[in-house]
Structures are given as structure tokens and as C-alpha cells.
């Protein structure tokens, strides 16, 4: 790699259901200003700007073009990435390659979604192959229903465990002022919420949030002069997979090897991570449903196959405990889709800086793994560290 890449500034809006007070450009501007303030930089010092957004959700074609002024892109290099739910992560990867290439010293990466502007579900209906798949598996709920059902059948996990995972997320979210849903929840309340597609209940799914997130990446020279302690993005891995449901594209954890397993294996191997649960201090995973947490913990090799629900039962994933997962409250609490993958990176960086405030993990945080998830179980993974 030509240049090491550091996170030198970060910012996000307060996420919520509706933002009638701003248009998307103004919303983005809030996050950009916060990130610049955090980095103590002027927009003039930014060399390139990368945007992540799912175009059809708001119905804007070339939405990046419409937010040039608010995003600070005027007469700057940059472009838009869109890979679905992963796009926040993909945009961070794009920024990473910009800095690593040695051609750009400081890159601003922005992810956003303003889901009050249109119907996300209407757009998601078009996310499947039109001839065979579109009629049977639109949207994300069905994916998590197959995932949850399969997981219960194979491991002995009960609905109560997924509900407990959701309660832990809510407890975390209440300590994070940026989070969207911050309810006081009990396992019973989750189990009493209405069924969407069994076993996925209303409270198991992420909300349709409005929000933006901005991240400033810098090269080594820039990181040395950074206002805050730089957090290094040591490595990254993107793995996609085919889409067709009838060939197993969206059905996990079986029948074939999953993108998350492939990505995790490659990333761990390159970075000498042999015991992920010990080597990694904080996890910010993109789990849009609490049901996804179990299979993904296992696919990321945090524990043995079939054991994740036991770790949740022991509440090992809480902020105070040994394997803190999603201390921010996760995607199930906050989901401005184009930003969600990036918020994982931002939240992990806050933890490694020791600046997460009320939701700072109890253990000493020096390394973190984040994922962005989307489309047909695609994943973008990042390995963050305090160490140069």
C-alpha cells in the first residue's frame, strides 16, 4: 500500500423518522460541518468527496449532483457509490483507496438517506430479479425470517433470545444520543409486538431513519497533524455474491459458504487475527434485524457454530462485558441506509478514541471490526486499530 489511512474526523446527524425541517442537502451539511469541526479542518483542505446513497429510495437520479453545495464538493474531485445497504461501507472503502493511492491527502466520505422523502419499501420491491424472485422475496424482512427460522431449527435458540438481543440493543441505544430508536424495552414487549414474517416481529426490524454521516480520512502526514487521536483503518475486504434466491443468493446461513465467512477469513488471515473474540475489542456489525446477530456472530468466527445465542443469553455482548457488540445500539436502532455502513466505522472509531461517552465500552478498546451489509447478503468489512 502506498499510504496508510487514518480516520481524522467524524460526524453524524441526530437520526430520526422525519426531517421536515431540512432537504437532503441541508441534512448532509449538518454531518459535514460536524466532521470538519471534529477534525479542525476547513472544507478547503479536503481534496475529494465521496457520496453514498441508494438512489431509488428518494427517487433522485444523480443525487450527488444535487448536494454539491451542502456537501462541500464544489470544484472538488469525487463521485457517488451505490451498492445497496453496503454503500456506506463501500464509500469508506472508496475513500480508503483514494488515500492509499497516494494521490489524495484528505478525503471526505458522506453517507446519507432521507427516508421521509419517499417509500423505501416501494423501492426495495425492485431489488429482486423480476422474472423469478420479485414476487416472492421483496424487502429485507423475508431474508431475516428464513435466517431466524433456520437458526432456531438448527441450534435450539428460542424467540426469547432474539428478543433479548433486541433489548440489549435498545439499552445501548439509550446511551447514544445519535441513535434513532431509544425505547425502554423488555423481552416480553418484543415478544408481544406483531409478527411481520414469523419469527421476525415488528420490534426485530430496523426503523426507516433519516440521517447523514461524514467521515474524514487522511494520509500519514495529515494524521500526524490531526486534531484528535487518529484511528487507522488497517485493512478492508469487500465480498459480494450472486442475487438469485433460487440459487441460494439470499438464503443464509445455508446452503453454501457465505460472503461474511469469506470476507472474515481473508481479513483475519492477512492481519494475523487468530482468536477474533479475544483479538478484537469492539464489534460494530450491520444487523438490520436482531435475528441476524446470531448467524453473523458465528460467520465472523466470534464463537463456534450454534453458540451465539448462548453468548447473548449470558449477555456477553453488553457494553460492560467481554465481547461488546454494537455498543451504539446498532442498525436495528438506527438505519439511514446509505449512512448505516459508515456509522459502524464512525462508532468504532469513537470507541477506539475513547470518546463514545455513555456508551464507551468498559474494556480497553484498541481494535475493532465493522461490517456493512446489504443486497444479497453482501458485506464490506473493516479492521480498525489504534496502533499505527
Amino acid at each position: 500500500m502506498a499510504e496508510r489511512v487514518a480516520i481524522i474526523g467524524l460526524g453524524q446527524t441526530e437520526h430520526c423518522y422525519v426531517r421536515p425541517d431540512v432537504n437532503h442537502e441541508e441534512m448532509i451539511n449538518e454531518a459535514v460541518r460536524k466532521a470538519l469541526e471534529d477534525a479542525e479542518l476547513s472544507i478547503r483542505e479536503v481534496d475529494a468527496v465521496i457520496i453514498a446513497n441508494m438512489d431509488l429510495f428518494e427517487g433522485h437520479y444523480l443525487a450527488d449532483g444535487m448536494c454539491v453545495d451542502g456537501a462541500g464538493m464544489y470544484l472538488k474531485a469525487g463521485f457517488k457509490m451505490n451498492t445497496g445497504g453496503t454503500c456506506g461501507g463501500t464509500a469508506v472503502a472508496t475513500g480508503w483507496h483514494h488515500v492509499a493511492s497516494g494521490l489524495f491527502g484528505t478525503v471526505l466520505v458522506i453517507g446519507w438517506q432521507k427516508q421521509d422523502a419517499a417509500s423505501s419499501i416501494a423501492a426495495l420491491l425492485t431489488a429482486r430479479e423480476p422474472l423469478y424472485d420479485r414476487g416472492m422475496a421483496a424487502g429485507a424482512v423475508g431474508i431475516f425470517a428464513t435466517m431466524g427460522l433456520r437458526y432456531m431449527q438448527e441450534t435450539g435458540c428460542q424467540e426469547e433470545h432474539a428478543a433479548l438481543a433486541r433489548v440489549i440493543m435498545a439499552d445501548n441505544a439509550r446511551r447514544n444520543h445519535h441513535a434513532h430508536l431509544k425505547p425502554e424495552l423488555t423481552v416480553k414487549q418484543v415478544l408481544d409486538s406483531r409478527v411481520l414474517v414469523w419469527p421476525v416481529r415488528f420490534l426485530h426490524m430496523s426503523p426507516t431513519s433519516c440521517g447523514a454521516c461524514a467521515l474524514i480520512l487522511g494520509n500519514e502526514r495529515r494524521a500526524k497533524r490531526a486534531a484528535k487521536k487518529p484511528v487507522w483503518i488497517k485493512d478492508l475486504e469487500t465480498v459480494h455474491r450472486e442475487n438469485a434466491v433460487w440459487r441460494g443468493g439470499c438464503v443464509e446461513p445455508k446452503p453454501t459458504i457465505t460472503a461474511i465467512e469469506v470476507a472474515a477469513s481473508r481479513l483475519y488471515k492477512r492481519n494475523g487475527i487468530t482468536k477474533p473474540a479475544k483479538d478484537i475489542d469492539v464489534w460494530e456489525l450491520y444487523t438490520p434485524s436482531s435475528w441476524a446477530l446470531f448467524p453473523w456472530m458465528e460467520l465472523l468466527f466470534i464463537c463456534e457454530k450454534g453458540e451465539a445465542w448462548r453468548l447473548v443469553e449470558k449477555e456477553a455482548i453488553r457494553i460492560e462485558n467481554e465481547i461488546p457488540i454494537e455498543p451504539s445500539g446498532g442498525v436495528v436502532s438506527t438505519n439511514p441506509i446509505g449512512a448505516s455502513g459508515m456509522i459502524r466505522v464512525v462508532e468504532a472509531a469513537l470507541q477506539l478514541r475513547g470518546e463514545a461517552g455513555e456508551h464507551q465500552v468498559s474494556k480497553k478498546a484498541e481494535t475493532a471490526i465493522t461490517t456493512a451489509w446489504g443486497s444479497a447478503n453482501w458485506v464490506v468489512m473493516f479492521y480498525l486499530s489504534n496502533r499505527f
Binding site: A2, H60, D64, L75, A77, F79, M81, H97, E242, V262
Partner: protein, 379 residues
């Protein structure tokens, strides 16, 4: 020490309306084509392609996450695939950065669009900011007409000069077997064709077209091993202008100038019109070829018409967009054509002795964002 990145192989489909082909077929044909041409395969062990950068737009595909549509055809199954939601030139630009950064050694770039399956005017209308501009009913053609008129008024460029661009490009397309529409036209034919949005006539605009392009990039060592005719990517630049037409001087393509400046300075080009042998640019409308030549620094502001008449630099020897290349594919197709030229593989449309070429892609209303890539023959 910075790495060097080379174009190893290229492929383009025939451009035409393809009602019998699914978008996935277009991508599959392009990817298969470039794999066969180069003999390369997807690989984990560093002996082949280790990443894909795709380019398409959800709106044109009518498909949320349009890369999902083509991920398997583009070699993305259990592999890295990232979609640039911008013109195809940006996908090439990004793939070069990915290799320069060292994470990848060899990347497949693929772009597709099937324009014939949707009403492009509705999509372009959605490409305008929603509160003030969209409800006026504007599309990119009506906005381009404003730009064309303003440009003509400012510099005395005539409709005849714009028509000459059409005559030249459609004539050039006769030498290009991949081009959609080629014919011998007269200036009079163009001037008397139906008006879309004054002063833009139907022949001044790019026809509706379907197709795909694919290209393989590799770092220096591998590029040299895999091809006898490497083309080096030596300059990169891209830039955004403002969105609102009222905020811009439409006769001054600021973002193009900036992108060209970056690209040329990286490639060590100081006098563009002397050092560049060949230009493939993205002219969605005839006047844009003149205006973009000015932005690319090939002549002074207002000199686009004269540059065309003097025929100093071969611009769009392929026939350009006016002969029919789909949006998004446009920029990558410029790269494919320019690479084939430098490789000396373009047959009747060959520009003899071409060593340095400039690739231009653009997106947004009235050329809001531009991408300029400079390539050189490496053999």
C-alpha cells in the same frame, strides 16, 4: 514509488437497440469477451482478476441496487465488486486508484445501460433538484438547449458549426462496426431535422442505444506480462460543478477545466493541443463537442468551432456518442475506443501514430461533473 497501471484488454458490444437482450446478457457478453481476448480469469492467487468495479444506474435499470442485477455476470460472486453510480469513465478512474493503493493488482471494469427499456426523459427529470427545478418539467435536453443557446450567443458559434459535428461523427461511425447509427449527412439534413428543444434538433442529440463495455486493468508488472501492447493510465482528474443552472456560467465548463488540469499535470502535459494525439469525448449533444474541446484546453474559449474546421486533433474518430452509445457506458466506451486506437487495432478508423490519448466522461445536467483520463501507448 507510485505504481503504474496499464490497460490490458478491452471489449465492447455492438451498440443498438437490443429488445431481445436482458441487461445481464449485455454484461455477460462484455465480460466474456474481455476474458477471452486477454485469456485472463478471476483468481484468488494473484494470477488473474482480483476485483470488479461495475458502473450502472438504478434508475436506468429500474432496479434498486443495479449491480445486484449483474453481480454474477461481472464476476462478483464471493468476490469483490463495487459499483460506481456515475459515468463509466469514473469507474475506470476508481479502478486505477484501487490498484495504485495496492489492495488490488488487477481489476475488471464493466459498464452497461439498456436505454431502450425506459423513458430517459423521466429519469433526467429526476436528475434535477426536486424543490425548484424538477417540477418545471425540465429534462437534460431542455437544459442543454439553454446551455447551447447561451454558448452560441456568447461566442458567435453557429448552428451550422454544431451540425458539422454531427456530420463528422456520423461519417466517422461508418468506419466503426460497433457504432449504432452511421450515415453520410449534410449540414442541411441536420438543420432541417425535427426540433427537440431549440436549438437542439433530433440529429444534434444522441440516439437511444443499448450496450456494454468491459476493460481490464493491471499493475505494471502484470500488465507487461499479460499483454504485448500495454496502455498506461498516466493522468486522472475529475471534478464537480454546481447543480443549479442559475449558479453557473453555462458557457464556462469550470469543472471540466479543473479535471483536465489535474489529469494533464499528472501526465506531464503542458500544451494539450500539441501533446495530445487523439481525443474521445462524451458529447450528448453536438454543441458539447465544441464546448468540451474548449474545456479540455484544446483551444481558447469560443474556439471550438474553429478547432473543428481546422481538423488539427482527431476528436471522436469512433463516431462519438452521436453515433449511439448509452449513458453510463459512454465514458468507458471512450476508454475502449482510445485504447484500441493506441493499440493500433481500429482498422479503418485508425489514427496513425497516436501515442497519447485523452478520455472524457461526464454526468449530470449540462455537464455538471467531468472526468478526464490521459493514457499513453506503452510499447
Amino acid at each position: 514509488m507510485r505504481r503504474k497501471v496499464g490497460i490490458v484488454g478491452v471489449y465492447q458490444t455492438k451498440f443498438e437497440r437490443k429488445p431481445e437482450q436482458h441487461v445481464q446478457d449485455l454484461v455477460f457478453e462484455a465480460v466474456k469477451g474481455v476474458l477471452e481476448k486477454t485469456g485472463l480469469e478471476f483468481s484468488e492467487d494473484g494470477n488473474g482478476i482480483d476485483g470488479t468495479v461495475s458502473c450502472s444506474q438504478d434508475h436506468w435499470d429500474g432496479w434498486t441496487i443495479s449491480s445486484k442485477n449483474v453481480v454474477d455476470a461481472a464476476g462478483g460472486h464471493l468476490r469483490s465488486e463495487e459499483k460506481v453510480a456515475e459515468d463509466g469513465a469514473y469507474a475506470l478512474y476508481y479502478a486505477v486508484l484501487c490498484i495504485l493503493g495496492g489492495h488490488y493488482d488487477c481489476i475488471l471494469v464493466v459498464a452497461h445501460t439498456k436505454e431502450s427499456q425506459v423513458d430517459g426523459r423521466l429519469i433526467e427529470n429526476a436528475g434535477l433538484e426536486p424543490l425548484y427545478s424538477r417540477m418545471l418539467g425540465l429534462d437534460f435536453t431542455s437544459c442543454a438547449a439553454l446551455q447551447a443557446r447561451q454558448y452560441m450567443e456568447a461566442y458567435g458559434v453557429t448552428e451550422e458549426q454544431c451540425a458539422q459535428v454531427v456530420v463528422k461523427n456520423r461519417r466517422n461511425a461508418m468506419d466503426n462496426p460497433y457504432a449504432q447509427e452511421s450515415m453520410i449527412l449534410t449540414v442541411e439534413d441536420v438543420l432541417s431535422s425535427a426540433v427537440l428543444s431549440d436549438p437542439i434538433k433530433i440529429l444534434d442529440a444522441k440516439p437511444v442505444s443499448d450496450g456494454a463495455c468491459a476493460l481490464i486493468l493491471a499493475e505494471e508488472g502484470k500488465a507487461k506480462r499479460w499483454t504485448e501492447k500495454p496502455i498506461w493510465v498516466e493522468g486522472l482528474g475529475c471534478c464537480y460543478d454546481r447543480h443549479y443552472l442559475g449558479y453557473r456560467d453555462l458557457t464556462d465548463p469550470l469543472s471540466l477545466k479543473e479535471a483536465a488540469k489535474k489529469s494533464y499535470s499528472m501526465a506531464g502535459i503542458t500544451i494539450p493541443h500539441k501533446e495530445i494525439d487523439l481525443v474521445e469525448l462524451s458529447e450528448f449533444y453536438s454543441y458539447q463537442e465544441l464546448l468540451w474541446s474548449e474545456g479540455l484546453g484544446l483551444c481558447d474559449p469560443g474556439g471550438g468551432g474553429r478547432l473543428l474546421e481546422q481538423k488539427q486533433i482527431p476528436i471522436n474518430r469512433s463516431g462519438g456518442l452521436l453515433s449511439g452509445v448509452p449513458v453510463n457506458v459512454a465514458g468507458l466506451n471512450r476508454a475502449v475506443e482510445a485504447s484500441l486506437q493506441l493499440r493500433g487495432e481500429t482498422g479503418k478508423r485508425q489514427v496513425e501514430g497516436a501515442k497519447t490519448a485523452v478520455i472524457h466522461g461526464t454526468g449530470g445536467v449540462c455537464g455538471q461533473m467531468h472526468c478526464v483520463i490521459t493514457i499513453r501507448r506503452g510499447f
